[in-house]
């Protein structure tokens, strides 16, 4: 899922400063932690309280729908609710914000989140962990299901760099060394032979930016 973190209220207030009537739009898609109706409602209340203490008055409406990244759903479900607002404050990832901008060109859509990465929700530890870099050339079959592109700080393809210590990354000792994990995983699978083969540099043309896929 797409992991996001909410912007500071100061930053949101600054971006909202020219507007007085705002629709806060949640996303019931993959944005995590969930940015649905509860988040929209909570943010509207915080902003309303904050505006009051600044001597301002802001009018909020809140809504949510599945997949703010779906141009058809946005036109179908969100657009009818935008008639009497000057701006939309989106709780979705950066894709959602841009979908709204494209589908609702007469309106200003502003982000309430910073979009961080695609990751796993590790519930027990209460963390989100980046696991996939969307490189367009998946090598998980060769690395025991552990991605060195996303999880190795250097994105190496041919084994550990030599800087890891106690299975931790030299760049951040709080994080696991991805190549140590890969080695142990392949050892367990009795497939260390995979590592003997040299991997040439990755195909960086697999995804040309900006990416586009015809369905």
């Amino acid at each position: 899922m797409i992991v996001t973190v909410q912007k500071t209220l100061d930053e949101i207030f600054d971006s909202l400063s020219p507007y007085t009537s705002v629709l806060i739009a949640g996303c019931d898609g993959c944005t995590q932690p969930p940015r649905g109706l509860r988040e929209a409602e909570a943010l509207s209340r915080l902003l309303e309280l904050g505006a009051r203490s600044r001597g301002k008055k802001l009018d909020f409406k809140v809504t949510t729908h599945p997949k703010q990244c779906d141009s058809y759903l946005v036109a179908d479900m969100l657009e009818p609710q935008t008639e009497d607002v000057e701006a939309v404050l989106s709780l979705a990832c950066g894709v959602g914000v841009q979908t709204l901008t494209q589908v609702l060109p007469e309106l200003v859509t502003l982000p309430a989140q910073n979009t961080l990465f695609m990751g796993m929700e590790a519930r027990e530890g209460g963390t989100f962990e980046e696991n996939c870099a969307a490189c367009g050339d998946c090598i998980l079959a060769l690395t025991g299901g552990i991605c060195p592109i996303a999880r190795c700080a250097k994105g190496l393809l041919n084994g550990a760099c030599g800087g890891s210590s106690d299975d931790k990354c030299e760049q951040d000792p709080q994080k696991d060394c991805a190549w140590c994990l890969i080695y142990k995983r392949l050892q367990k699978l009795d497939r260390l032979d995979i590592l003997r083969e040299f991997r040439p540099p990755r195909n960086f043309r697999a995804v040309s930016r900006p990416g586009r896929l015809k369905q």
């Binding site: 019931d28 969930p34 109706l37 909570a42 209340r45 915080l46 309303e48 309280l49 203490s53």
Partner: protein, 389 residues
């Protein structure tokens, strides 16, 4: 916390002079706080382990145990006043853990006018108070207990059941008729609106009782496992869940009603009903009101914000200590986390100091009073322009 209080009042005390060492109390105590010393045969109360369920107080045949909550004198006083106030000769004693709203109580017992008496566990009602009620002219007594395996104090509901059975036999022999005291059991459960569910899995992960599952594209609950703590309700991002008796709308209505009653500066307390046991006639004066919840985990961050929007100047959350949380030790901790996150956000708009979370236990009633006093003192009125609108 509060170490300066040297002579702290404790909620339960044992008077050795009266104790006949019969061990009934130690056999009933759900928390192993009362034990018989093997060498001396003396009964000893370890207050640090006591969670003030009141089972020992209500059962001690020698009156050797005293309790600052719901003792016979205060209950008798309440009954006298309430009999006048409610103009009824029907008494309904309800455990806070299992009681629906008044409409629900009416439906359960088929009574429309009654004297309500809320207690944290009906197991703590001494037989004497039930007999006194009858001598005071009460003609019908209905008791609402939690389902036995749902009782927060383990044996409270079962003990109440046995007492009522014995009392009914006694009353019948004395000529008061049969089944004078009517016992019913009830549990409050979660309700799901499957159409609103976004299958995020929060309820599945957070439910302390593993009652939630994602099935056929929506959350579903095994209601036999649900214990009605409300943790899932407060964390559901899509408002797909409700907890009976603590519905969002009902708490919202209560917030605005209480705010209107209060004078500035206004302090609203959300408290776990097992962390703070309210005295029978609780009186906070004009600046403070409390909303009791089935667990601090039911504290909804939106309700806290709503309180501020309604002109409340300070919100205090009182939760059980983590190891004493009645919801598998998960509720209190999660509430602390949620409040901390909200407090951080509130501090971004200068309101962080207006929200305070504390761990308390009913065995030391003064700790809660001190927390409230300190917090209320630091809260100035009128922090928002037009806050009362």
């Amino acid at each position: 916390m509060n170490t300066s209080v040297t002579q702290q009042t404790v909620a339960v005390t044992l008077n050795e002079e009266y104790c006949s060492r019969c061990s009934i109390c130690s056999s009933l105590c759900p928390f192993e706080a009362i034990k018989k010393e093997p060498e001396t045969g003396k009964i000893v109360l370890e207050i640090e382990k006591c969670q003030v369920c009141g089972l020992c107080y209500a059962t001690c045949p020698a009156n050797a145990i005293s309790s600052v909550y719901y003792d016979i004198d205060s209950l008798t006083g309440y009954l006298k006043r309430a009999k006048q106030e409610y103009e009824s000769d029907t008494l309904v004693i309800m455990c806070n853990g299992s009681t629906p709203d008044f409409g629900g109580v009416e439906k359960l017992f088929g009574v429309s006018k009654f004297i309500p008496l809320f207690v944290p566990c009906v197991g703590r009602m001494p037989e004497e108070i039930l007999l006194r009620a009858i001598t005071m002219g009460i003609r019908e007594i209905h008791v609402l207990a939690c389902d036995e395996d749902y009782c927060r104090f383990d044996k409270g509901s079962a003990v109440a059941g046995r007492k009522i059975l014995a009392l009914n036999l006694l009353l019948e022999q004395l000529g008061y008729g049969t089944e004078v005291i009517n016992l019913k059991r009830n549990s409050l459960k979660v309700k799901v609106d499957k159409d609103k569910c976004i299958t995020c899995g929060n309820c599945v992960f957070y439910c302390p009782y593993h009652a939630a599952k994602l099935e056929n594209g929506a959350a579903s609950f095994d209601l036999d496992l649900c214990r009605g703590c409300g943790l899932c309700v407060a964390l559901c991002p899509a408002f797909a869940l409700e907890l009976e008796n603590w519905e969002k709308e009902r708490i919202s209505t209560l917030i605005s009603k209480l705010s209107l009653e209060m004078e500035k500066p206004k302090v609203l307390i959300f408290r776990c009903q097992w962390a703070v046991l309210p005295p029978v006639d609780e009186d906070f004066g004009s600046h403070v009101r409390a909303i009791d919840l089935p667990c601090a985990a039911r504290v909804d961050m939106l309700h806290i914000l709503e309180a501020f929007q309604n002109g409340i100047d300070g919100v205090l959350i009182a939760a059980c200590h983590e190891e004493e949380c009645k919801q598998e030790k998960k509720g209190s901790k999660e509430a602390q986390h949620q409040v901390a996150v909200l407090k951080e956000r509130l501090s971004q708009i200068g309101l962080g100091d207006r929200l305070h979370f504390c761990f308390v236990a009913p065995r030391y009633p003064e700790v809660f009073t001190a927390e409230l006093g300190q917090f209320a003192e630091g809260i100035g009125a009128d922090f928002l322009k037009g806050g009362d609108e």
